[in-house]
Amino acid sequence: MAWFKKVRKPIEPPADKASRVPEGLWVKCPSCAQILYNKDLTASLNVCPKCAHHFRINATDRLRMLFDGEWQEHDAGLTSTDPLHFHDTKPYRDRLETSINATGLQEAIICATGRLHGTEVSLAALEYGFIGGTLNAAVGEKITRAIERALDRQLPVIIVSCSGGARMQEGALSLMQMAKVSAALARLDRARLPYISVLTDPTTGGVTASFAMLGDVNIAEPKALIGFAGPRVIEQTIRQKLPEGFQRSEFLLEHGMLDLVIDRREMKDAIGRLLRFGMVRRTSAAAPVDADAVPRPTPETVPPVS
C-alpha cells in the first residue's frame, strides 16, 4: 500500500497568497473578489466584511485578538538544537534560521498568560509561518509548560492550533510530543480545569491527533482544513478525488468531532462564556468578580499547616 508515492507536497507550504493577509493598502478577497481597504480588514480581525472569508493570521495577532490587553509571554527563548542534525535538500538549521528571521520567533508557538474577559488564562498559539506551525520538541515543551503553569496557578488553558502536524526534521522526538502534551492535558482534565481547543486553517496530522482534539470544547473557525491524514495522501489511498468540503470545519461538525464552528469575530465572546462555565465552580457563583477585589489572606490570617 504505497500511499506515500507521488506525493508532491512542497516542503514549506507555498506562499498561500489566497489565505495570507497581503501587505499594501488594498486587498482583494480571494473568495468574493471584493476589493477591501486593508485597515477595514484589520478592524474586522482579517475576516472579509462581505463574505466572511477568514484570512490566516499570525500568532501575535491571535493573542491580540483574544487577550483583553497586555499579556506576559513565557519561554520565548526556547529554540531547537537540531537534535538529529537533519539534512534533506537543505540543512534543517537553515530552515530554522529562515523561520526565525521571518517571524521574529524562536519557535512555532507563542505561550502567554493574560486575561480574557477578565479571566486569567494560559494561552498558546501556533505560528504557521514557522515551518508550517509544526510540532517539535521545543513546541511540545512550551505547550507542556503552559499546561503545567495552568495547573500550578489553577488557570484554564486555550490552545489555538494552526499546524501541518509533527515536524519531520526532529523524527520521533516530535512524535513523542503528542504523548507528552496529552499526558499533561490528562492532569489538567483530572484537575477539572477547562481546556478550550481552537482549530484554525489548517490543523492536521499529529497536532489534530493529540491536543487539538482533546478540548473540553473544540471550536473551529469556518472552513478550516482539519484532519489527520492530508487530503493528497487520502486521494492516493482511495485513488479518487475527495468531495468538496471534505475535512473542512463544517464536515467535522456534521460528523461530531467539533462542538462549534464560530466566526473569528465572535470567537472571544464565545470563549469567554465557556470559560465562565468552566471556572464558575471555583470562583463565586455570582457574577464574575475582579480577582483583585477579593480580599486575600494576609500571612497572619493563614492558619498554620499542621
Binding site: Q72, L84, N136, E141, M168, A172, L173, F211, A229, G256
Partner: protein, 328 residues
C-alpha cells in the same frame, strides 16, 4: 525456517543454493562435512550482515512478511487467549487484535496491531492500517484490564493509521488523541513491545507504557521514510536517505531516550527463529513486568508521566536563548 531472502541477504542465498545442490547428491561423509561447513559459513555471514544493517535495511526486516507478528507472540507467550471484539460504537477493526489471556499463569490483557501474512489475511487485516474503531476497541479493552487490575501488554506493528475517508469521518485523530490522554492515566502496568513497524501516530495511539521495549530490528518513525522522502526530497526514491536521517532504528531510539530498552533478536532477525525471538521477548517482558508491578499506583503514574515528559529535553533537543518573560 526457510523464508524469503531480502536483497541484501544475497550472499547467504548463494550458500543456501550450494547446500541445496549438495543435499541432492548421494550422501558421503565428505559431502556431509561440506554441507556443515557451508551452513556455518552461511550463519557467520548472516551474523555479519545483520550486525551491519543500514536503517533502510532495518525497515525491510521490520516489514519482512515472515516476521513474527502479534498473534505469533500471543500463541507462544500466552495461554487461554480469548479475543475480545469491537469498540461498542461502530465495528470490529481487524487491524488491531485485543483480548484477555494468561501470562505465566496470571491474567493480562494483550493488544496489538495485526498485518496479516498471506494476501487474504492482509486484506482482512487491512495491512495493519487501523481505523478509529481499532483505537477505540483497544482503549475499551484496556479499561477492562484497568477495572480488574490486570496488566496490559501491547505489541506495535503498523505502517500507519488508515489514511482513508472513513477514518476521517469517524475521527481517527480524536481516537488516537483520546488514547494518548487516557493511557497516561491507566492505573495498571502497561508494557509495550515495538515488534515490527512503529508507524507514527498509528503506533503511538496504543503505545503509551511504563516500559516501551523495542526489538533489535524494529523501527519507529514519525513518518514512513518513503513519505518523508516524497515531501522533503520531493522524490520517494530517496527513502534510503530519509530512513537514515529520521533516526528510526532501535539503537537510535534508545540513544534519544524515546524507548526504555532494546530486546535482542536471534541471528538473522526474529523471522529466522520464532522460538528464539519469543524467548528473548519473554525474558524482557518478565523483567519489565516485575519491575513495574512492584510500584504503587501513584509511583507508576508519576514515573510514566515523567518518562514522556523528558522526551526532548533542554540541552538535547532545545535550548533557551533568552531568559523568561518578554512582555508584549
Amino acid at each position: 525456517m526457510p523464508t524469503e531472502l531480502l536483497e541484501f541477504e544475497e550472499p547467504i542465498g548463494v550458500l543456501l543454493k550450494e547446500i541445496e545442490a549438495l543435499s541432492m547428491l548421494p550422501r558421503t561423509a565428505e559431502r556431509e562435512r561440506s554441507i556443515d561447513s557451508l551452513r556455518r559459513r552461511a550463519d557467520d555471514i548472516r551474523g555479519q550482515i545483520y550486525a551491519n544493517l543500514t536503517p533502510w535495511q532495518r525497515v525491510l526486516v521490520a516489514r519482512h512478511p515472515s516476521r513474527p507478528n502479534t498473534l505469533d507472540y500471543v500463541e507462544r507467550l500466552f495461554t487461554n487467549f480469548d479475543e475480545l471484539h469491537g469498540d461498542r460504537r461502530f465495528a470490529d477493526d481487524h487491524a488491531i487484535v485485543a483480548g484477555a489471556a494468561d501470562y505465566k499463569g496470571e491474567p493480562v490483557v494483550v493488544i496489538g496491531h495485526q498485518k496479516g501474512r498471506d494476501t487474504k489475511q492482509k486484506i482482512f487485516r487491512n495491512f495493519g492500517y487501523a481505523r478509529p474503531e481499532g483505537y477505540r476497541k483497544a482503549l475499551r479493552v484496556m479499561l477492562f484490564a484497568n477495572k480488574f487490575s490486570r496488566p496490559i501488554v501491547v505489541f506495535i506493528d503498523t505502517p500507519a493509521a488508515y489514511p482513508g475517508m472513513e477514518s476521517e469521518e469517524r475521527g481517527v485523530a480524536e481516537a488516537i488523541a483520546f488514547n494518548l490522554r487516557e493511557m497516561s492515566m491507566l492505573e495498571v502496568p502497561i508494557l509495550v513491545v515495538v515488534c515490527g513497524e512503529g508507524g507514527s501516530g498509528g503506533a503511538l495511539g496504543i503505545a503509551i507504557g511504563d516500559r516501551v521495549l523495542m526489538q533489535e530490528f524494529a523501527v519507529y518513525s514519525v513518518i514512513p521514510p518513503e513519505g518523508c522522502a516524497a515531501i522533503l526530497w520531493r522524490d520517494a526514491n530517496r527513502k534510503v536517505e530519509a530512513a537514515e536521517a529520521l533516526k528510526i532504528t532501535a539503537p537510535d531510539m534508545l540513544a534519544l531516550g524515546l524507548i526504555d530498552a532494546i530486546v535482542p533478536e536471534p541471528r538473522g532477525g526474529a523471522h529466522n527463529d520464532y522460538d528464539a525471538a519469543t524467548a528473548l521477548v519473554d525474558q524482557a517482558l518478565t523483567q519489565a513486568l516485575d519491575e513495574v508491578s512492584e510500584m504503587s499506583i501513584e509511583t507508576r503514574l508519576n514515573l510514566r508521566y515523567d518518562k514522556f515528559r523528558r522526551m526532548g529535553t533542554e540541552g538535547q533537543a532545545f535550548v533557551d536563548v533568552q531568559s523568561d518573560t518578554a512582555s508584549s
